[in-house]
Amino acid sequence: MNALLLAVDVPPISHVTIWGSGPLGFNKTAAIYIFAAIATMVIFYFGTRRKDQVVPAGLLQNTAESAVGFVRNQIIMQTMGTDGLKYLPYLTALFFFIFFSNITEILPFVQFPANARFGMPLVLALVTWVVYHVVGIAKQGPGHYLKNSTVPPGVPIAILPLVVIIEFVSWLIVRPFSLMVRLFANMLAGHLILVTFASLCAALWAAKVTVVILPFSFALLVAMTGFEILVSFLQAFIFTILTAVYIDSSMHPSH
């Protein structure tokens, strides 16, 4: 009987989404990104189909319109003003893609934020980097853009070389790098906290004598899950609003 059970060796469910390794491998992280992309596209495609009606009707259309209104009012109008409205599609897609790939951290049976691996945050930060440099060069010309970005106004001549070096490194390297690290590290830290408390609860339950401590660690696990919902939304919001601020600094130089 035991041999028969061993013959039916069922691999864990996550093996369904591990298929190859190396650059062309497919695993759970990639599956979550595909889900996030499809969810974003579905919401905004099916939510805007009835363009002929003046009054929006239906749950999906109202949700999609509030979502676009949120990005427009809270992100673009706060940072860029009206000439930033042409970036509304990019910022909406960025916000919802990051939000859907973060929120899988608390969804049952998935429980992994895909941004806890630094592949996609690096790609998103590089896309933002390319966008704000291209906008700056197109609006101001290369020489003026470099000068306006690296020399802040009202700096005494004595410390100007040091400030220029610091501003240049910040403008070229630190901005995309910090975008990537902020998103990646927040998601990784939250995931590690949830995993630690969940395995602590499981271990307290397995060693029967410590089961009295279990309610406290379970309560903290529930509270941290709620906190991770806030962090998922907030990290998507911060990434998007920082992208908007960087594009604004390229469009409207301060001098």
Binding site: Q74, V181, R182, F184, A185, L188, F237, I238, I241
Partner: protein
């Protein structure tokens, strides 16, 4: 007591793992001091601003989140570095 002797003997023979753990702790601990103070300053001033002029609370709140993100990034650099340190 025997376990303690065993751990100390292993640490004396090959201190790499112990020193790596100490290093990681110092890296993250040191990295968390500045942003802790900084975020406290940002949020405190934001609360003062919201109390002085309640109708600007929305704008102040948005700018507060932006300031928190900038300062928290420095603590997260230290957190990531603590994981990168190998030994």
């Amino acid at each position: 007591m025997a376990l303690l002797h065993l751990l100390l003997a292993q640490a004396a023979a090959d201190p790499t793992k112990g020193l790596t753990a100490i290093g990681r702790g110092i890296v993250y601990g040191g990295a968390a001091i500045g942003p802790g103070i900084g975020i406290g300053l940002v949020v405190g001033n934001a609360i003062t601003a919201m109390a002085r002029q309640p109708e600007s609370a929305g704008t102040v709140r948005t700018t507060m989140f932006l300031g928190i993100a900038f300062t928290e990034a420095l603590a997260l650099f230290g957190f990531v570095l603590a994981f990168i340190i190998s030994g």
